[in-house]
Subunit: 505 residues, 2 copies
Amino acid sequence: MLKNLNRVKNSKLHDLIVSAEEAASWIQDGMTLGLSGFTRAGDAKAVPLALVERAKKETFKVNIFTGASVGSDIDKLLSEAGIINKRLPFQADATMRKHINAGDHLFVDQHLSHTSELIRNGVLPTVDFAIVEAVSITEDGMIIPTTSVGNSATFVTHANNIVIEINVAQLEEFEGLHDVYEPAPQGENRKPIPVSSVGERIGTIGIPFDASKVKGIVFTKYTDSPSTIVPPDEETKEMADHLLAFLREEVKAGRLTEKLAPIQAGIGSVANAVLHGMIDSEFKNLEVYSEVLQDSVFDLIDAGKVDFASGCSITLSDEKMKQVFDNFDQYRDKLVLRPQEITNHPEVIRRLGLISINTALEFDIYGNVNSTHVCGTKMMNGIGGSGDFARNAKVAIFVTKSIAKGGNVSSIVPFVSHVDHTEHDVDVVVTEQGYADLRGLAPRERASLIINNCVHPMYRDQLSSYFVEALSRGGQTPHILEKAFSFHTKFAETGTMLDKEESLA
Amino acid sequence: MLKNLNRVKNSKLHDLIVSAEEAASWIQDGMTLGLSGFTRAGDAKAVPLALVERAKKETFKVNIFTGASVGSDIDKLLSEAGIINKRLPFQADATMRKHINAGDHLFVDQHLSHTSELIRNGVLPTVDFAIVEAVSITEDGMIIPTTSVGNSATFVTHANNIVIEINVAQLEEFEGLHDVYEPAPQGENRKPIPVSSVGERIGTIGIPFDASKVKGIVFTKYTDSPSTIVPPDEETKEMADHLLAFLREEVKAGRLTEKLAPIQAGIGSVANAVLHGMIDSEFKNLEVYSEVLQDSVFDLIDAGKVDFASGCSITLSDEKMKQVFDNFDQYRDKLVLRPQEITNHPEVIRRLGLISINTALEFDIYGNVNSTHVCGTKMMNGIGGSGDFARNAKVAIFVTKSIAKGGNVSSIVPFVSHVDHTEHDVDVVVTEQGYADLRGLAPRERASLIINNCVHPMYRDQLSSYFVEALSRGGQTPHILEKAFSFHTKFAETGTMLDKEESLA
């Protein structure tokens, strides 16, 4: 391991340099760890991996708090090692998902802007060890994060002990990329969060810390895991076209200009494809105020379409990582990384008036959205920041393909099997079939529009029948409760949501 | 009608004084009206009532936008007259409710902080006539509202025409009570909303307006409808005790002081009773940052418990109205009324760190809350501000009696029949049985706690059985979808949610 002491500019800290194994040995059964990491970027790697090694010989459990999902298979390995008691606020690992759904460990699915308040207010268990990845420590005592900020500042400020992973594989040139701001406790000491434009800087270039809490500094050399984005396909391209059509209507109506409004796009292939669709559009001088900055954001910067991008992490494919990080000076003045409390803060989202684009697992005929639970029970990833954005955005858009599993699943159902975003928070839904603009519509109006515009033709009659029968019972939001989950139960029993007659037709 | 011209201090406007009938005659089929009024307080009365009269001889329909619910039977009469096309964002009238659920007219149930953004952004139809109640018009051109502010400022600013109802039954002394602030459009011109403490004033004492848009001024003399609050009963007192016990635990844990945090309490008898419970508590120097200021807030002021109350309206019983308004100088410096966009703004709610107390219709074993739809279909009142507060509060509390309809309905069900507040937004649930503090808990943990602490004993086994069976299927949020609404469907079929064996036992 290359111990590049220049990365720790405050030389008083040099004595604290230890191996990952030693740092991992300090962690005791029942402790709570606050790990850096947001959407596979900037995660603490060496100490968690050493902890997994330790678990081969010892029995213990810890709570794992992070920014969001982490890479380097850390969630997989922690889960397999059986050392997790509670995990929050987000994950996106296939193995961990299995363990969560089997009840092997607990998972608390939180709005990504909420975790830091809960820690600050002493509601969650005290963080025993903040373990955060850094490119360097400055002479005046600041941790310079790597490719994400996440909840690291909150962890560092409120933890009893701090371990810093200096990752020499991450660019020292990231110094100056970040803008770290931690709000005061709620109440009269808290001031407005002064972000009034996408690129505005309000904080410090790194995370200030109490040097007496630093227990160890570990040198590492691991690259971030590349993103797992699938390239756009025919259907995601169609969705992008529908979304662009909607945006054009907004411009025509005078509600947006060709600059649009700052864009947030959730992680995932669909949102990525939708952003990609903007490259060849007439829209220009765009700004991004998002959580994760994916390939498409940099493609838009490269295409001269995006002037500035504010995010919480940079999560790229292998190829794009090489391009961006090898030429970082070209991007530096167009980027800022902020804590997730600031990227996702209702105050800032509402002030800036974002266009928010997130992925739905399923939505219902009245516009309620399920982002998290497969068939109402099994956790996929978590709500992430979608709630922070959808509730407060100027336009909250949810996208999904109209069918899944070769047509055996309709993504539009009578009643979503889990509600993450209510009818009050969903403005526009988009599938490859079309879009439905639900703003200002009553539930009965929404149902007709969704069925006509978004549902796959193979499910249109089935959903229409449900709606017509429900209408006969009346109500603000007509439903037949005994049939509300009939699509899901039919799928569980027969492997398809499609009515038998329909399948034969 | 007493035309007290002193109430219109800008004498250039005196020529515009007309009868309510004449003002009502200007309204044309298809128009959108923005009426003042929030929780039965400060509603425009004369012109809407004249419009109802006109409907006896003419056929027309209009959209009715308000702050929230209105009094003086206006919603009832408008509904009965059959002249509503669309109504938003809230209502609480028994007759209107019937018409909504029958599909006679459309109702859009919105977060109370959202309507003004939608109007400002041109998403909702343009308001043709803003019709707002005032105590006076100042010489320098401001409308001084009466007992509520609601959406009046937004309506006045964005409407094509303005009609002002000068209500001489409302105290001229209200001048100085209000603090009117309208945010700039979303984007770079919008600045932080500078409310950093409950009593901070940030705006003007009245609503500025474009005099050229004023089409008419109508003199009226109607008192507000009194509140319909039911006095505390044994069960609401028990709920108040549980809530106080929770707050004491928070103080013990160092998360709150005896000043607590600014309190928001939703309208309704339960929330009112809970506030009443604070009169004899040790808590003191309390502050209220709420929507509606009910009897209990003034009782707390009278008891020296509340130092300051910020609201959007003052809605009192007949008796309390007399006491407060006859002695208004005693209360003046402890009160401010703000637009609902500011009382309910996520930015301010989160900054101040409120304790938010709202009423649930039902909640489920995982902590999702239904605030609006009886048996998933029939609208009760609307979500009101509960979403604005619950999502952003420091502590989001929902209260409800554990059973209703003589025990035939359990307010705790396997799966709520409509979701207004998701598991991500609900911190504490309280019934007369006890409270469950859900913060930081995974769904499986929440279910046990809710069943043990909040469910009525007559339903405990039935909900436990559901949970145990659901656990056997696994998942982050275990459910048996085919039985998820079994409580509701059983009630629809048999008149009780109770299992037969249980009822016999």
